[in-house]
């Protein structure tokens, strides 16, 4: 796994289980995510953070995805949290730094729980439904959903391309030449976009 490719782990992270959290409608989960996230952003007290932590933990247990899957999702925080903690400690003292860091972890854990228990298609369908009112201004909801799906699908594909380009440059001795990296990456990306357009047309997206 190359350095870009491995970064694509967040996507398609769905863990199939039979749980109430999995069965809950995607739209409801997204709405709940929004509401609880706002709550997380608003609380300042330890008791508030504690209550939300209990809530997140309860959802995590109910989802039956297991601690490993959840920890994988939290892994990017290994770098972020110490940095934030240090900065806040320096600026506002230890108490506020701890609360802020805890809120950060809660936010990511909440989003992770939605990602782990919801198929991308369900998210997209929910967004498609949510975008329906925009029809009056000419938005095509199914197109909105398709674009999002393509964006998600493209991340690992382009990450793999970036790895290949990086390896090719290294093999030719251009270890840190940004232009030698960017040009083939952009060209490759455009070529792929072209091919994807053809594939979508072949699969009847315009029909």
């Amino acid at each position: 796994m190359g350095r870009f490719r491995s970064g694509a782990g967040l996507l398609g992270a769905y863990v199939p289980r039979d749980s109430v959290v999995h069965r809950a409608p995607a739209g409801l989960k997204l709405a709940a995510l929004a509401v609880v996230s706002v709550a997380v952003l608003l609380v300042r007290s330890w008791s508030g953070v504690g209550a939300l932590a209990v809530l997140v933990l309860a959802v995590a247990v109910a989802s039956r995805v297991g601690p490993r899957a959840l920890l994988v999702q939290l892994r990017p925080l290994v770098w972020l949290v110490p940095a934030v903690l240090a900065l806040q400690w320096w600026a506002h003292g230890p108490a506020r730094a701890a609360v802020l860091s805890a809120r950060l972890v809660l936010l990511v854990a909440l989003a992770a729980l939605v990602v782990l228990t919801t198929r991308t298609t369900e998210v997209l369908t929910a967004i498609e439904h949510g975008a329906r009112p925009l029809r009056v201004v000419g938005v095509r909801p199914e197109r909105v959903a398709l674009v999002l799906a393509l964006a998600i699908r493209s991340v690992p594909v382009l990450a793999a391309l970036a790895d290949d380009v990086h390896d090719a440059q290294r093999a030719r001795g251009h270890e840190r030449d940004l232009r030698a990296f960017a040009v083939p990456l952009v060209v490759g990306t455009l070529r792929r976009a072209d091919a994807l357009g053809d594939a979508l047309r072949a699969r009847g997206v315009d029909d």
Binding site: A149, L196, A199, L200, G204
Partner: protein, 260 residues
């Protein structure tokens, strides 16, 4: 989830799609592809220069040098490319004016499955093929899931249903791309170098799959083993069909042409 149910997935475009085409649904009646004096100009280049063909065989192969126009010929068959001059008709439907109907009859498999898989996970990509289309009621959710599952089982991909597509091997990705095309039950399957990116084992497997599906198949390939048992092989050179015969004589001609 019987086979009969699955025929409802995409109603045969033979029903009410216009006059003068092959009509009767079912794989028994071959779909006729007709190219009439087809010229294609892309940019400054005459990529195809006067092609006249009638294809109704079960298995047709297309070979030729790089840049000879094979991909362009393949893309004509589902309306991805329309002729600059002349006419292409698939089952009596003009690809220029009835492209949408043509694409329901013709499934297309590309070289690079990464460009063709549009959804993040395996089952979702197959399900995408079954989305409701304009002017048609979609399948009920449960039925759609059942059709997807059956298709994945048939291709040995059921164990990967919820896996991200990017974690599949190259061979599995191509298998998924083909599954997503076949699930709409096209009458004709066109494949442009479907085995080029695969190792020998996967290339064999995909080649065998293309040789065994009930659909009519037109495959462009540099992998001549794929054409084993085919009914007809076209040799394209510099925008023209220069040989059109059974595989053995056509491939012998091609080898001589390439100086091999």
């Amino acid at each position: 989830m019987s086979l009969l149910r699955r025929t409802n997935v995409v109603p045969d475009a033979g029903t009410g799609a216009g006059a003068g085409h092959d009509g009767a649904p079912g794989a028994a009646v071959p779909l006729t592809v007709r190219l009439d004096d087809v010229h294609v100009r892309l940019g400054e280049r005459d990529v195809l220069r006067g092609i006249d063909l009638e294809l109704a065989e079960h298995r047709v192969g297309v070979v030729g040098a790089n840049g000879s126009g094979k991909s362009t010929l393949a893309r004509l068959l589902n309306g991805l490319v329309v002729p600059t001059r002349g006419q292409v008709a698939v089952g009596g439907l003009d690809t220029r004016t009835q492209g949408a109907a043509v694409r329901r009859l013709v499934g297309f498999v590309f070289t690079d499955p990464d460009a063709q898989i549009v959804m993040p996970t395996v089952a979702e990509d197959v399900a995408y093929s079954l989305r409701p289309r304009r002017g048609e009621p979609g399948l009920p959710e449960a039925e759609r899931a059942a059709v997807v599952h059956a298709a994945l089982v048939e291709r040995g991909l059921a164990g990967h249903a919820d896996h991200p597509a990017h974690l599949l091997s190259g061979g599995q990705k191509q298998l998924l791309a083909i599954t997503s095309v076949l699930v709409t039950r096209p009458r004709l399957l066109v494949a442009d170098e479907p085995t080029t990116l695969l190792d020998l084992r996967n290339a064999r497997a995909i080649g065998r799959l293309l040789g065994s599906v009930e659909q009519q198949v037109v495959v462009v390939t540099h992998d001549l083993d794929v054409l084993d048992g085919y009914d007809r092989v076209l040799v394209v050179d510099d925008g023209r069909v220069v040989a059109d015969d059974e595989p053995a004589p056509a491939l012998a001609f091609y080898r001589r042409l390439m100086g091999a």
